[in-house]
Symmetry: C2
Subunit: 442 residues, 2 copies
C-alpha cells in the first residue's frame, strides 16, 4: 500500500501515540490538515500507572485505552497500527510494517515521538530474568511472576528455595522503582494477608537497588529522606551505591561503591533503571546526520526540529534538549510545541520559536496514603502529597470512563484490602516453566 | 515433597476449582476435615461471562478471582497450584506437578472436578485457527484476534482481503456461541462506531454455524425462534445443519445437510462447539475400570462416586450421570452433594443417597437488553429476560468486590457505547504474525 501526498491538504504524520504523539495529534484536531498517527500497539499507555498493572491494582484497559477510540471524534485523524521500519527524509516518506505487510506513508510534516525502551546498560541478556517496566506486556509478565512467586513459595518445602521465591529485587530507585518496591511491600504485608497456609507473605523481602548514591535523585533531599524512611518503615531494604554485575534465574550479583561483592538470591527481579531511546533515533542520525546523546536520543534544534530538516520534529523521550528529563510533561509540552509550530507555518509564519519547558512539578507514590511531591517551591510528603497525586493522576488520565474505572478500583483497593487483578495466565506460567527448565539444565 | 496422611483429621482432596470444586470446598468450610484444593491456575473462572472478556466488556480480574483469596477465611483449606498428573486409587494419593516439580498428596476422600476442555471432534488441528472458549488465555487470545482483525481491515487496500478480515465465524450455537455472535454483532455495529476512517466496522459479517438443525437446542422452540430473530435483526447470519470440514488461517470449509459444500473466507474463527472431558477421566477409567461416555466423561454411581471406590467422587463436567447437561448448576449441586456425603459419613451415616439435580432454569443473553430464559414453566424473552439474566449473574458471581466491579463495568458499557478492555498485547500480535507467516509459506 502506498499512500501518496497528492491530496490537497497538508499531511502531518506522527510516529508514536504516547504522551508526546497523542497530545500533538490532539493539538491538531481543528486544523485544516490530515493527521496520521502510527503506533505499534493499538493503545495509548498511561505509563505513570503501569506499576499498578504489574502489581494487580488496575487492569490493562484502565490504563491503556485504544488510540482510535481516544481520537474518534477527530475526523481529520487516521490511526494506523504498525512499526515504522524506515524514514526517507529526502522523499518525505515513512515505511510502516504491520505483521509482515509493508506500506509507505508520505508526509509534509513529521513528528517522531517513538519514545524509549528499557536500558540494560550493555547487558541486554538481563532482560530475560529481569523484565522492564515499559509496556503492557512487561507489566503482565511481571504480574504473573510476582503472584506466581508466592504460589511457588507456598508449595516449596526447602527453606532456602522458599526464601528465594519470597525475595523481590527492584533495580533502579527512580519514581517507577520506588513505586514498584512500595507496592511489593504493601501487597505482601497487606493484600495477601490470610491467603496462605504454609508461608507468611509478610515475610517477603523487598530490595531496592540503585547505582546512584541516593534514591529519587531528581527530588530535593528532604523528600528523598522522607521517602527512604517511609519505604524502610514498610519493610523495603534500600541498597544505594550498588551496581548490578549479573542477573540469572535465581538471583542477582551486585558490587557496591567500596568494591563489596554481594549475591542476592531472588526469584523475581524487576528492572526499572535507565532508558534507551527508540532505534528510530539512530536511524535519524544515520539518515539525517543528527547527533545522539549517550541514551541514543536525538539532539534537536531549540524548536524541537531535526537539524537541517525543519519539517521533522523529534519530541518526548526521543528528544535530547537542554538536559530535559524523560517525563510525561516534557513529552506533552514538546508535542504541543511541534503541533503549534506546524499550525503557525500553515498561516505563513515561519519564525522559529524555541521550546520552553514549564516544570509543573513531580511526584512519586510510596504506598497507599503516602507520596512525595514538588510543585515549584511547595514540597509535600505523606498524606497531603498522596491526595495531590491522586487528583493529578485522575485528572490527567485519558478518557472519562477510564477516570471513573480507576477511581472505582482505587476506592475498592484503598478502602479494602485486596487487589482486583491477580490472574496468572498459562502463557506466563509456561514462561516461568521455560525459565525453570533452563536453570536446571547443566 | 510428599504430604502424608498421618495427621489425625480426615483429608479431602479436591481436584479443580471450577464451580464443582469450589462449591464442594465451601460446603466443607465448617467441617472437622483438612481440605486441599488443587488447580492448574491460580483463579476460579466464572465461565458464564468468559465471552465478555473475549469481547472487551470485562477484565480478567472481574471474572477470575484468586482461588486462595476466595477461600482465605476457610482455615481448614489449603490451595495448591499444579497439574494433577496421576491418581493412585489403591494408595489413595494424587501426584501433582507444578512447573516441573512433583509432589504427592494423600487423601482420605477425593473429589475429582477437573471439568472439560473444548472438543474439536477428532480435529485438534482446528484449534490453531479457531481457538476455544474455555480459559482466560483463550479469551485473551480471541480478544486480540477480534480487535486486531478490525485493525488489519483498516489498513488493507484490497477488497477481498478486507472482507476476510471483517468476517467472523462462530462454530457452535449453544449459549456460548450465541453470546459470542451477539457480542460480535454489537461491538461491530455499536462499540466501534466512529473509530475507523477507511472501513465501516458495521459492515462486519458475523456467521453462526451449527451442525444441529437449530440454535440453542436445549431451549423450548418459542425461545429458540425468538433468539434467532433477535440475532438476525442484529445482523448475525445463522447456518444450522452445517458441519465444519476444514479450518485454516483464511477461512472455514463447511458442508450442509443437503451435501452443499461451502467455503467462508474469514480471518477470525471462534470454536464454541462441544466439550471433551478432562484427561483425568481416561486415567480413572484405566486405573479404576470406570466406563466413559462419548465425551470422555466418567459414568458414576447414582451418588456421584466412582464405581467400586466410594471414597472417590467425580462431579460436574467430568461426570456422566442421567444425561445431565454440562452446566454450572450441575457442577455446583454435585459438588455440594459430594461434600455433604463426606460429612454424613464422618458422623457414621454410610447410607448411599442418590444425587438429585434441581433444574433452576437456563438462560442466554443475545445482546445488551435482550436475553431468553426458562424457569420451570416460566419462559421469558427480550428485556425482562435480560434483567433476570443480569440479576442472576451478579448474584452468583464470586465475591462482593467482583460483583461491584462487574456492575460498574456493565453500567458504563450498557449506558455508554464503548468497551473498556480492548488492549491487544504484543504476544497476541506476534501470534498473529506467526499465523500470517505460516499462511504465506508455500
Amino acid at each position: 500500500m502506498t499512500t501518496t501526498s497528492s491530496s490537497r491538504r497538508h499531511r502531518v504524520v506522527i510516529i508514536g501515540a504516547g504522551f508526546g504523539g497523542l497530545f500533538a495529534a490532539k493539538a491538531l484536531r481543528k486544523a485544516d490538515v490530515d493527521v496520521i498517527v502510527i503506533d505499534r500497539t493499538n493503545h495509548h499507555l498511561f505509563q505513570p500507572l503501569l506499576y499498578q498493572l504489574a502489581t494487580g491494582l488496575l487492569s490493562e484497559g484502565d490504563i491503556a485505552p485504544p488510540i482510535r477510540d481516544v481520537l474518534r471524534h477527530q475526523r481529520n485523524t487516521h490511526v494506523l497500527l504498525g512499526d515504522v521500519v524506515d524514514i526517507d527524509l529526502a522523499a518525505r516518506c515513512v515505511r510502516v510494517e504491520t505483521v509482515g505487510e509493508r506500506s509507505d506513508v508520505a508526509y509534509d510534516s513529521l513528528i517522531v515521538a517513538a519514545g524509549a525502551s528499557q536500558s540494560y546498560f550493555g547487558h541486554p541478556e538481563f532482560a530475560h530474568d529481569a523484565p522492564g517496566m515499559k509496556t503492557i506486556d512487561h507489566a503482565l509478565e511481571l504480574r504473573g511472576r510476582i503472584f506466581g512467586a508466592f504460589e511457588m513459595a507456598e508449595r516449596e518445602p526447602e527453606a532456602a528455595a522458599r526464601g528465594r521465591w519470597l525475595t523481590f529485587v527492584v533495580v533502579g530507585a527512580g519514581p517507577t522503582g520506588v513505586e514498584v518496591a512500595g507496592q511489593l511491600a504493601e501487597l505482601s504485608r497487606r493484600s495477601l494477608r490470610g491467603n496462605f497456609r504454609r508461608i507468611d507473605p509478610a515475610e517477603a523481602r523487598v530490595v531496592l537497588l540503585d547505582a546512584a548514591p541516593t534514591i529519587l535523585p531528581a527530588f530535593p533531599e528532604s523528600l528523598r529522606l522522607r521517602a527512604a524512611r517511609d519505604l524502610r518503615d514498610m519493610g523495603v531494604e534500600i541498597h544505594v551505591g550498588t551496581m548490578v554485575t549479573g542477573v540469572d534465574g535465581r538471583g542477582i550479583d551486585t558490587i557496591s561503591g567500596d568494591r563489596h561483592v554481594r549475591r542476592i538470591e531472588a526469584a523475581t527481579k524487576v528492572w526499572a533503571a535507565g532508558v534507551q531511546a527508540s532505534p528510530l533515533g539512530r536511524l535519524l542520525s544515520e539518515k539525517g546526520g543528527a547527533a545522539l546523546d549517550r541514551a541514543g536520543r536525538v539532539k534537536v534544534a531549540s524548536d524541537c526540529t531535526l537539524p537541517g530538516h525543519p519539517e521533522v520534529f523529534v519530541i518526548g523521550d526521543l528528544m535530547s534538549l537542554d538536559h530535559l528529563p524523560s517525563v510525561a510533561q516534557v513529552a506533552i509540552q514538546s508535542g504541543r510545541h511541534a503541533a503549534h509550530t506546524i499550525l503557525r507555518r500553515l498561516t505563513g509564519d515561519t519564525t522559529r520559536r524555541s521550546f520552553r519547558y514549564h516544570d509543573l512539578g513531580s511526584m512519586a507514590t510510596i504506598s497507599r496514603l503516602r507520596a512525595i511531591a514538588v510543585l515549584g517551591r511547595l514540597r509535600l510528603a505523606g498524606f497531603p502529597a498522596w491526595v495531590l497525586w491522586l487528583i493529578v493522576h485522575l485528572g490527567t488520565l485519558t478518557g472519562f470512563k477510564n477516570r471513573l474505572a480507576v477511581l472505582f478500583n482505587w476506592t475498592v483497593a484503598f478502602l479494602g484490602r485486596g487487589r482486583a487483578q491477580r490472574v496468572i495466565t498459562a502463557q506466563q506460567v509456561f514462561g516461568r516453566h521455560a525459565l525453570e527448565a533452563e536453570e536446571r539444565a547443566p
